[in-house]
């Protein structure tokens, strides 16, 4: 996609988007509502027309091709199976349109249903299977036509947490097995980080960063990415040279060209460690535990530092030793940090 632009009246949904997806790659587009991720997908699918820019798939210009001729499989957020057809007929629908012989069509439909583990439900109607199964059938239907690109538009958002995690893993397994180029749109960062080869974080119709999940998380390109992906503590600091001083600690900067002066440093909760403090002394990195949220293997602890609060993510066994009201001393791991210069330097978690 080159220079893609789409406007809805005065609203610019996509503002010159450039994105290249490699063969067999899974890219997840992540961003808040209205950032343009679904518009990107719909433009690629041909369900909407771009105001400017070009879409090329395998060297072929698709920009002005109708959706029915683009050869792209799509799975929608809403359940999109045809209610009057059985599961098998749904999967075979695209093949029927391509005039594939009935026996071959049926065989292919069963193969696809086997792939998503639903061949036993082949003769059921959509209303007779669960939501998760419906989305799996939709995936099988999209894959049956052997599309050039698979487009997934928040396919898991209508499902409950457990089914969601299972189906997410299944989608990734199938995608790797089939080796199909895939664009996955989601607003769920965990989903994007877990499934994608590369994650594209979008904001106001533009790509803020496109990188592997680990890089997006640990080395965010912008303050927006840092704040959108994962939790971030916003702490007042002062830049001097290649470091930022936060509550008396010097932390290395990601961007060494940051201008000196007051900034807001973005510190991940897992970079903060806590230890019980019995000295009774006060200091910039001494505070009181005010809440602890159990997350399973880890817990998130909120510490009141007097002028601000800070989040720390600890193992649950460590967090249990620090109940609410405990005095704690904080340590901030010297990971490279990003700073936000657009926001006022007010300390908050």
């Amino acid at each position: 996609m080159e220079g893609l632009r789409r406007e809805y009246g005065p609203v610019v949904a996509l503002d010159g988007l450039d994105l290249t997806i490699g063969p067999g790659e899974l890219i997840a587009l992540l961003g808040p509502s209205g950032c343009g991720k679904t518009t990107t997908l719909r433009l690629l699918a041909g369900l909407e027309d771009a105001d400017a820019g070009q879409i090329t798939v395998a060297g072929q210009d698709m920009t002005h091709l109708s959706a029915s001729k683009r050869d792209m499989g799509m799975v929608f957020q809403a359940y999109s199976l045809f209610p009057h057809m059985t599961v098998r007929q749904n999967v075979a629908f695209g093949l029927r349109l391509r005039r594939v012989h009935a026996a071959k069509r049926d065989q292919r439909a069963i193969e696809m249903l086997d792939l998503v583990g639903l061949s036993a439900q082949a003769d059921r109607y959509p209303h007779q299977i669960s939501g998760g199964q419906q989305q799996r059938v939709a995936l099988a239907r999209a894959l049956a036509i052997e599309p050039q690109v698979l487009l997934l538009d928040e396919p898991l958002s209508a499902l409950d947490a457990k089914v969601r995690a299972q189906l997410r893993d299944q989608i990734r397994r199938i995608q790797l097995e089939v080796g199909i180029t895939t664009l996955f749109v989601t607003h769920d960062q965990e989903e994007a980080l877990a499934i994608a080869d590369r994650v594209g974080v979008m904001r106001e119709g533009k790509l803020e960063q496109l990188a592997p999940p680990t890089e997006v998380y640990s080395r965010p390109a912008t303050a927006f990415v840092a704040e959108f992906v994962g939790l971030t503590n916003r702490l007042a600091g002062t830049v001097s040279g290649s470091t930022v001083t936060v509550r008396g600690r010097d932390l290395p900067l990601v961007d060494h060209s940051t201008a000196p002066g007051p900034v807001t440093a973005l510190v991940r909760p897992e970079a903060v460690t806590l230890a019980s403090d019995r000295s009774g002394e006060s200091g910039p990195l001494v505070g009181t535990v005010i809440a602890s949220t159990f997350l399973g293997a880890t817990s998130r602890v909120t510490v009141d530092l007097g002028d601000t609060t800070i989040l720390a993510q600890l193992s649950t066994s460590d967090a249990t030793a620090l109940p609410a009201g405990s005095r704690v001393a904080l340590t901030i791991r010297p990971d490279p940090v990003l700073v936000a210069t657009d926001a006022p330097a007010v300390s908050e978690a």
Binding site: L47, S66, M74, F76, Y79, F82, H84, F93
Partner: protein, 286 residues
């Protein structure tokens, strides 16, 4: 505190009813109410019919019974013969339903998918005939029908008029059917699988509107079967309703008036029941 009070009261007044018992009692009361309402409306509906039947079967003297009034319908020589009127009316019902569906179904699907902004204007146009009295319509259409009659075309030409009359009812039925399905997502899914717009309409959307289409057919047919004013005023005497009217006028036996009216009603009921039964059977299978 509330729980304690509640427990205390329970112990004084005896064992509390289980939720299931309460539910059963409530269901019983609800059923009683349903049967009562159904009976009242049933009586309101069936008493005039029974009275009609009785008058149609009553002989010349009170307390005597006779089938003479019914025999007169069958033996009515015409013109036109009764059976030919039945045939024409049924043909009109079929043509009207078909034309209404051909006009409305693709248009409404297209509007929903592509040009939603004209949806309100289209709805207004479809509902407009509801506000136009039959007589006004006749005044407007009379010159056209006079012209048609000049070419001695059959009463089937009335379908033009009946299509207009049936539009509001068919529109409502189809609109409800369209509203019940996610047309946009289904059509986008079909398009991404390679379906043309025609395929989307015929193979994807229309089959999911089957019940709405049957309802629209049912309402259009009911309208044609019961229509009298326009056919009579435009001088098409060979439709069923107008013919029955003439049969009742042509005989000195007052009971024929009731036998013909009753016969017309029963005919319409049976036809509509058949249509509705066909729809239900298909829905059960689907």
């Amino acid at each position: 505190m509330a729980a304690v009070t509640s427990l205390g009261e329970t112990s004084l007044t005896g064992p509390a009813k289980s939720p299931r018992g309460m539910q059963a009692g409530r269901r019983k009361r609800l059923n009683l109410f349903r049967y009562l309402v159904f009976s009242v409306f049933g009586l309101f509906f069936i008493l005039p019919l029974l009275a009609m039947l009785r008058f149609s079967l009553e002989g010349n003297q009170l307390g005597t019974w006779s089938l003479a009034a019914w025999k007169e319908i069958v033996s009515y020589p015409g013109p036109p013969p009764l059976l030919s009127s039945v045939e024409i009316t049924l043909e009109l019902a079929v043509i009207t339903s078909a034309v209404v569906l051909v006009l409305l179904v693709p248009t409404m699907i297209w509007i929903r998918l592509r040009v939603q902004w004209i949806g309100r204007a289209f709805e207004f146009l479809c509902l407009l005939p509801l506000t136009i009295p039959g007589i006004v319509l006749v005044v407007g259409l009379a010159p056209i029908y006079n012209f048609i009659r000049h070419y001695q075309l059959s009463a089937l030409q009335l379908f033009w008029c009946y299509v207009i009359l049936a539009l509001p009812y068919a529109y409502r039925a189809l609109s409800a059917g369209l509203g019940a399905i996610d047309v946009t997502t289904m059509s986008e899914a079909a398009r991404s699988l390679g379906a043309s717009w025609f395929t989307v309409m015929v193979r994807v959307v229309a089959p999911n509107m089957r019940q709405a289409i049957l309802n629209a057919m049912l309402l259009s047919s009911a309208l044609v079967l019961g229509e009298f004013t326009i056919a009579y005023l435009l001088l098409y005497n060979n439709t069923l309703q107008v013919n029955l009217y003439f049969i009742s006028r042509a005989t000195p036996n007052a009971s024929v008036l009731f036998s013909t009216s009753f016969a017309a009603l029963i005919f319409a009921f049976i036809l509509l029941l058949i249509l509705s039964y066909v729809g239900r059977r298909r829905r059960t299978r689907g």
